[in-house]
């Protein structure tokens, strides 16, 4: 029997400034799975993530999280739903005026009545899980990009969310940090029994860890499947994306006037 879904997206349309950003998106995110949404920059991936978080209201359709339609919730209801979510931002978005320890403790202090002693133990456990127990007194400005992402991951997991969203978790990382972050995403998802959504265009790293992939282009889903299915897929777009080919359905040249015409040459 398939796992019940935690997030359901049906006929999601979003228009910004008369420009259609998302068109008729249908997706299902079963509980416990790690699912990637891939596509080129500007194809609507982050906009989709913002809809799941309830930060944007769709023009048509809906996002249902844990049985609730997100855009129908009032501010209080939205905040209650967000307590069940965690989000890792592209560059970590750590609070720069707080230490690593305080960043991880932030949600515990805001949303729970736990004693400082209990919070201390939880923070140390979360930081230990990402290998940064020894960095708890450092400030975000003292961390490398990879360390900042790991601290942000520990902060995201602070209250053991049901759903974790990752916005470009591999962006700007060196190969070692990339592997570390990828492994942590997979192991933490499995350890917590959470559901994870990764928005990325880093195909090689994400295909190693995810269960299912949605490919997006120009606001629509162009392909979907398991990593093995996508590696074997012969769709032009997917092949170009997976193998990093320079030209194809996504053209190398930005549309413009004819080359000869641009050079003022006669035919």
């Amino acid at each position: 029997m398939p796992a019940p879904s935690l997030v359901e997206i049906r006929d999601l349309n979003f228009t910004y400034d008369k420009r259609p950003v998302l068109q008729g998106i249908n997706m299902t995110f079963p509980k416990g799975k790690l699912i990637a949404i891939m596509g080129l920059s500007g194809c609507g991936k982050t906009t989709l993530l913002r809809h799941i978080g309830g930060a944007l209201k769709p023009t048509r359709g809906y996002v249902k999280f844990d049985g609730q339609v997100m855009h129908e919730l009032d501010a209080r209801g939205l905040y209650l739903m967000r307590r069940k979510m965690g989000m890792l931002f592209q560059f970590g978005a750590l609070f720069t005026d707080m230490s690593v320890y305080d960043n991880v403790a932030f949600q515990m202090r805001e949303h729970t009545d736990l004693s400082e002693e209990m919070i201390h133990n939880l923070v140390v456990m979360k930081l230990n899980a990402v290998g940064l127990r020894g960095a708890q007194h450092m400030m975000p400005s003292e961390l490398s990009g990879g360390m900042a992402r790991r601290v942000a991951l520990a902060r995201t997991m602070a209250l053991d969310p049901m759903l974790v969203m990752y916005d470009e978790p591999f962006a700007g990382l060196d190969p070692i940090s990339m592997t570390v972050i990828g492994d942590l995403i997979r192991s933490l998802n499995d350890a917590l029994g959470a559901t994870s959504i990764i928005v990325t265009h880093d195909i090689q790293e994400s295909l190693k860890i995810v269960d299912y992939v949605y490919f997006m282009a120009n606001g629509v889903i162009v392909s979907e499947g398991t990593p093995d299915e996508l590696r074997a897929c012969d769709t032009d777009f997917v092949r170009q994306f997976v193998h990093g080919e320079m030209d194809g359905p996504v053209p190398f040249h930005y549309p413009g006037v004819d080359y000869r015409q641009a050079l003022n040459l006669r035919a």
Partner: protein, 262 residues
């Protein structure tokens, strides 16, 4: 056509300004509405009091000392013409407590603490820290804005009082120590002429109003800044310019209400 375009541009500008004032007023209202959390957890306000108040001490003390010394020098030169050098203490004290203390401290506060608040919140927005807080189900107005607002409102009258006190000391140094005005008359005439309610309390009211206005402008500009380097720098500039103009205009209005016919 040029005339129509000019009128249209002016109209747009007026509508934009009115709309922006409305948004800022709503922001102020929301800040008050969501202040309960930070007033209950007062350590959040104390932390901000350090960065807005304590970190502004040096500029306030140094500026206050020099303004007081200038007042002492200029006041002595003027009063000497009428043989009233002994009233130097009164002149320095009234000038500082009624006007220069609240106004100068507020202008310095806007430049030092106000611009820092705008830049900090603008950068928090640009680096997605505010979005991260919203995604953690924490209201950024309650957690980021409200503590800073109350820190500004509390620290401004204290800084203005300190500015006036240091300024009076500067006037004393120049008038009594350097020039040789009688120390007894300097202090006794000041004590006799400065009224607590009429002068000091009105000065405190002015500084509370200035503190509120400057802090709201600084926080609103930061919160409303486009999340780019250019956007943050523009917002910081607007904070200093708008706050300074607001302080000077409000000072006239408050002075007219408080001291007319006094």
């Amino acid at each position: 056509m040029a005339v129509v375009q000019t009128i249209r541009a002016i109209g747009h500008r007026i509508v934009d300004t009115v709309w922006r004032i409305g948004v800022a007023a709503r922001f102020f209202f929301l800040t008050l509405l969501y202040s309960g959390n930070c007033l209950r957890r007062f350590h959040l306000v104390i932390k901000e009091l350090f960065s807005t108040g304590v970190m502004s001490l040096i500029i306030i003390i140094v500026a206050g000392l020099f303004v007081g010394m200038v007042l002492g020098l200029q006041g002595y030169e003027t009063l000497k013409r009428y043989g009233s050098e002994s009233a130097l203490g009164v002149m320095v004290a009234l000038g500082l407590v009624r006007e220069l203390g609240p106004v100068m401290a507020a202008l310095l506060f806007a430049s030092r603490a106000g611009s820092a608040m705008t830049a900090e919140i603008g950068l928090m927005k640009a680096t997605e820290q505010i979005s991260a807080m919203e995604m953690m189900a924490v209201n950024p107005i309650a957690r980021i804005v409200a503590p800073r607002f109350w820190a500004g409102v509390i620290s401004m009258p204290l800084l203005a009082a300190l500015f006036s006190a240091v300024g009076i000391f500067g006037g004393y140094l120049v008038g009594v120590v350097q020039i040789g005005v009688d120390e007894g008359s300097f202090w006794s005439q000041m004590q006799a002429a400065v009224d607590f309610r009429e002068d000091i309390l009105n000065g405190v009211i002015k500084s509370v109003v200035f503190g509120t206005v400057v802090t709201v402008i600084a926080l609103f500009e930061g919160f409303d800044a486009p999340p780019t380097a250019e956007g943050v720098s523009g917002a910081t500039t607007r904070t200093v310019v708008t706050s300074s103009l607001a302080i000077l205009m409000l000072d006239f209005v408050l002075t007219a209400i408080m001291f007319r016919g006094a």
